[in-house]
C-alpha cells in the first residue's frame, strides 16, 4: 500500500498546484488530500484494470505455457484468433450461450423480479415472508446455489426427477447432462438468485415513489397497469438504469454456476469458462486463453459504454 501512494500524489498534485497558484484557495493539506483521493483510485484503476487489460491483449497474440518467464513467450500474430474461429469447437457455442444468458436475464428474470417487487409493494398479507423467501438466495454464494441445484437436478436422487417420476433407464431426464436442456436448467438456477436481487433493488425504489403520484393517476382514471407503465416506471428511471446495468454485468460475468456443474462443458460453455479452462490448470495456454478473454472484453465493453453514455447524456440535458 505504501508503494501505491508514492507515485500517485505527484500526478494529482501537479494539476492542483497549477490552479492553486492562480486562486490560492487550496492549502497544502488540501492538495495532499485531493492528491490521495484522485491518486489512489487512479492508481488502482491503472494497475488493476488498465494494465492487465493491455497485458491480456498483448498476450493474446502470443504462445506461452506460463513457464519460463518472458523469454519463453513467442509471438504468433493472429494465430490464436484464427484457431479460435476455425478449430476451437466450443467457441461459438460459448458466444451464443453468453448471449442467451443475457437475453434470458433481460427479458425473463429481470421482469419477473420487477413484477414481484410491484406485487410486494402492495403491502399484501405476509409480504415480509415473501420478501425474505425471495431474497434468501441472494444471500447465498453462487457456489452454494450451484450445489443446491445440482442436488435438485441429480438424475436418480434429485427431487425434480423423483417428483416427475422420470428416474428409470428408459425415461430418465438428464437435466444437467443433456446439452439441449442444461443451459436452461442452469438459467433457472441463476434466475432463482437474480430475481431476488432485482426484486429487492426495485422494491427499495418503489418505496421512495411519492404515493400522491399514484393517487393522482388513480383519480384521473388510470388502472393499475397504466399507472405503472405511464407514471411509476418513468419516475423510477434512475433505478431502472441501475437494474439494467446490473443485469448486463451479471449476465456477462456468468461463470460460477456453469463451472460448478461441469466446468462449463457439454452445453454449458461460456466465454468465461473457456478462459479459465485454457489458462488455469496443469498446462496452460496463456495466449489462447487471453484471446478468448479479449473477445469477452469486446463483448462486455459494447453494452456498458452504450448504457453509460446514454445515462450520462440524459442526466445532463
Amino acid at each position: 500500500m505504501s508503494s501505491t501512494r508514492t507515485p500517485a500524489p505527484p500526478t494529482g498534485g501537479a494539476g492542483v498546484r497549477r490552479s492553486g497558484r492562480k486562486f490560492s484557495v487550496l492549502t497544502g493539506q488540501d492538495r495532499v488530500v485531493l492528491g490521495l483521493m484522485v491518486g489512489i483510485p487512479t492508481f488502482m484503476v491503472v494497475f488493476f484494470v488498465i494494465i492487465p487489460m493491455i497485458a491480456s491483449t498483448i498476450l493474446s497474440f502470443t504462445q506461452w505455457n506460463g513457464i519460463g518467464g518472458f523469454a519463453a513467450i513467442k509471438f504468433v500474430g493472429l494465430q490464436n484468433y484464427i484457431d479460435l474461429v476455425t478449430v476451437y469447437i466450443p467457441f461459438f457455442p460459448a458466444l451464443t450461450h453468453n448471449l442467451i444468458w443475457l437475453g434470458f436475464f433481460l427479458f425473463i428474470a429481470t421482469p419477473i423480479g420487477i413484477f414481484f417487487a410491484v406485487l410486494l409493494d402492495k403491502e399484501m398479507r405476509g409480504t415480509r415472508f415473501y420478501q425474505g423467501a425471495l431474497y434468501l438466495p441472494v444471500v447465498l454464494s453462487l457456489a452454494i446455489v450451484g450445489f443446491i441445484w445440482q442436488l435438485q437436478y441429480a438424475p436418480e436422487q434429485g427431487l425434480i426427477n423423483n417428483v416427475l417420476g422420470t428416474t428409470r433407464q428408459d425415461n430418465l431426464i438428464s437435466w444437467l447432462g443433456d446439452p439441449s436442456l442444461n443451459l436452461w436448467a442452469v438459467l433457472v438456477a441463476a434466475s432463482w438468485r437474480h430475481v431476488g436481487y432485482v426484486m429487492i433493488l426495485y422494491l427499495a425504489g418503489l418505496k421512495s415513489v411519492d404515493p400522491t403520484l399514484k393517487e393522482a393517476a388513480a383519480i384521473d382514471g388510470a388502472g393499475e397497469v397504466d399507472t405503472f407503465r405511464r407514471v411509476v416506471f418513468p419516475v423510477m428511471r434512475p433505478i431502472n438504469i441501475v437494474i439494467l446495468v446490473i443485469t448486463v454485468i451479471e449476465s456477462l460475468r456468468a461463470f460460477d454456476l456453469a463451472f460448478i456443474v461441469n466446468k462449463g462443458l457439454n452445453g454449458l460453455e461460456l466465454l468465461s469458462t473457456l478462459v479459465t479452462n485454457n489458462i488455469i490448470g496443469e498446462t496452460s495456454r496463456i495466449g489462447f486463453g487471453s484471446a478468448i478473454a479479449v473477445v469477452l472484453l469486446v463483448v462486455s465493453v459494447g453494452p456498458i459504454l452504450f448504457y453509460l453514455t446514454r445515462a450520462l447524456r440524459e442526466d445532463n440535458p
Binding site: I89, A154, P155, W175, D178, L265, I280, R285
Partner: protein, 463 residues
C-alpha cells in the same frame, strides 16, 4: 474456478483414487462447511484419525538424531482426503525413523494442487512432490522443473519392473519419479446380485452382451456410467481402444504419433456406440459417485467400469467385501493375449532446486522398499504396492484381486490424461469431445474425429 479459480479440475481428478477428492472443489468446500457445522453442532465429537501432527519435528526418540540426522526436508502432498492423507503420514513417519531425515508434510487440497502445480513448481516448491507417472510427469521434467534422480534409481531400480521404469522416465531418458502405488481399472459388480440372479462373469464381448441383454430384461442397467466430471469416459475409450487396436496403437495415439482421424479410432467409437445401450442412460449428467452408488447401493445397475477406488462409495465393509471385479472382456482378436489395462501410478518426484537433496533422496529410496509400501497400502485400501518384493500379506480382498489382475496384464497403460498431453486431455479437449460423443453417438464420426485431430494439431509444440 469456483471453483472459481479452480478450473481444470478435471482431468486430473483421475489421478487420485479416492473418494472425496474427486468432488469439485466447490462441492468439497461446501461439503466441508456443512460437515464442520454439523460436527460443531454435535459437540465436535469425532476428530479424524491421524493423531500425529504433520511431522514438523524429527521423529522423536528412536533414532539417535546426532549420528544419522540428515536434516529437514519437506513433502508437498495432494492427498487431502482422510484415508490417503493418513496413508502418506504413516509412510512419512516410517521413513523418518528409518532414514533419520525429518520430513515436513504440506497437505494441499487435491484439485487446487493440480490446478496450481505449474506455478507451484516454478515458485518455491517442497523438496519432494507427490505426483503421477507418465506424460504428466514428462511435461514438467521437460520444463526443467524437476531434478533427475538417476542416482536413486541406481540403488532401487532393481526393485521395479520395466513398465514402472518407463513410466518414471522423462523424454531426455533420465529418471524423475519413484512409484509408490497403482490401481487397476476393472469391471466391478456385486457378488450377491450375480449369485441371486444367476449371472456369470463375462470374459468375452459376446458373453458380455448376452449378460447385458439379460440384465436389461431384468430391468437393470448393465453398466453404471457417470461422466459429469468429464474424465470417467476416458477410461472407457482407453480400454476399448486397447482391446480393439492393441496397446501399441493406443500408446502411439496418446503420444501423437498416430492420428485421431485414423479409421481404427473411428472403429472404436462405432463399437462404443453399439455398446451404449448397455450403459446407464444420462451419463453426461451423472457424477461418478452417483454411478457407483447405482451399482453398489441402489442396485439399479449391474456392473461398473472404473478404477478400484469406486469401491470406496460402499457404505459398509460388508458392501466392500461383496464387490467383485474382473478385467474388461476381450473382443476375440489378436490383442486378447495382451490383456492390456489402465493402471495409473502414483508416486513422488524431486523438485528442481531441493533445499536438502540428501534427505529428500533418502526418503525417495525409502518409498521404494517393500516395508514402506506395506505401511502405505495398509492404510489406503484399493491401492497396490509397486515394488517387486512387495509384502502382500496385509492385503484385503480388493487389493489381492487388484494385484492379481495387474500381475496378469501383459501391457499396462496409465490413463488418457496421464498418457496424453494435459492440454489435450483437459476440459477444452478430450473431456469435451467425449461428452459430445456421448450426447450424440450417431453424429458423423469423420467430422467428429477430424475436429479432434485439428484441435490436437492446433496445440503449441511440446518441447
Amino acid at each position: 474456478m469456483a471453483h472459481s479459480g479452480v478450473p481444470r479440475v478435471e482431468a486430473d481428478e483421475v489421478a487420485a483414487p479416492r473418494i472425496v477428492r474427486r468432488m469439485t472443489l466447490t462441492r468439497a468446500a461446501v461439503g466441508g462447511a456443512i460437515f464442520a457445522l454439523v460436527v460443531a453442532a454435535c459437540g465436535g465429537a469425532a476428530s479424524p484419525a491421524p493423531s500425529t501432527a504433520p511431522g514438523t519435528t524429527p521423529a522423536p526418540g528412536d533414532t539417535p538424531a546426532a549420528s544419522v540426522s540428515l536434516g529437514e526436508t519437506s513433502l508437498g502432498s495432494n492427498e487431502s482426503d482422510e484415508q490417503p492423507k493418513a496413508a502418506v503420514q504413516s509412510l512419512v513417519d516410517y521413513c523418518q525413523t528409518s532414514t533419520g531425515a525429518s520430513i515436513k508434510v504440506n497437505v494441499n487440497d487435491h484439485n487446487t494442487f493440480q490446478n496450481q502445480i505449474s506455478s507451484y513448481l516454478q515458485g518455491t516448491p517442497d523438496d519432494i512432490v507427490k505426483w503421477f507417472a507418465g506424460n504428466r510427469l514428462r511435461f514438467f521434467a521437460d520444463q526443467g522443473l524437476l531434478s533427475p534422480i538417476d542416482d536413486v534409481w541406481a540403488e532401487v531400480g532393481s526393485n521395479y519392473s520395466d513398465a514402472f521404469k518407463v513410466a518414471s522416465t522423462g523424454n531426455d531418458g533420465k529418471l524423475y519419479f519413484v512409484p509408490n502405488i497403482n490401481y487397476p481399472w476393472v469391471v466391478m459388480y456385486r457378488k450377491s446380485v450375480f449369485t441371486e440372479k444367476g449371472y456369470a462373469v463375462p470374459t468375452t464381448l459376446a458373453e458380455f452382451k448376452t449378460l447385458g441383454d439379460k440384465m436389461l430384461a431384468d430391468g437393470i442397467a448393465p453398466l453404471a456410467f457417470g461422466d459429469l466430471d468429464g474424465w470417467p469416459a476416458m477410461g472407457t475409450f482407453d480400454i476399448l481402444n486397447m482391446r480393439l487396436n492393441g496397446y501399441d496403437f493406443h500408446v502411439g495415439l496418446m503420444a501423437g504419433t498416430e492420428k485421431w482421424s485414423d479409421p481404427r479410432v473411428k472403429a472404436v467409437f462405432q463399437l462404443w456406440a453399439e455398446l451404449l445401450p448397455y450403459f446407464q442412460a444420462g451419463a453426461p449428467g451423472r457424477t461418478w459417485q452417483d454411478a457407483a452408488k447405482a451399482m453398489i447401493v441402489d442396485k439399479t445397475a449391474g456392473m461398473y467400469f472404473l478404477g478400484t477406488f469406486a469401491a470406496q462409495q460402499a457404505p459398509t465393509p460388508a458392501d466392500v467385501a461383496d464387490i467383485g471385479f474382473f478385467p474388461f472382456p476381450t473382443l476375440g482378436n489378436q490383442y486378447d493375449s495382451e490383456k492390456a489395462i489402465d493402471a495409473p501410478i502414483d508416486g513422488f518426484m524431486l523438485s528442481a532446486n531441493p533445499k536438502n537433496p540428501e534427505a529428500a533422496k533418502a526418503f525417495l529410496k525409502c518409498v521404494a522398499t517393500a516395508a514402506a509400501q506395506k505401511i502405505y497400502t495398509a492404510t489406503s485400501a484399493g491401492d497396490v504396492a509397486t515394488v517387486k518384493d512387495a509384502d502382500t500379506s496385509g492385503y484385503n480382498d480388493v487389493q489381492k484381486a487388484a494385484a492379481a489382475i495387474i500381475a496378469d496384464s501383459g501391457r499396462i497403460a496409465q490413463f488418457l490424461d496421464r498418457d496424453a498431453r494435459a492440454d489435450f486431455a483437459g476440459p477444452s479437449g478430450m473431456q469435451g469431445f467425449l461428452l459430445s460423443f456421448l450426447n450424440d453417438p450417431k453424429q458423423n464420426l469423420d467430422t467428429f474425429l477430424g475436429g479432434i485431430q485439428s484441435y490436437y494439431d492446433s496445440l503449441p509444440p511440446q518441447q
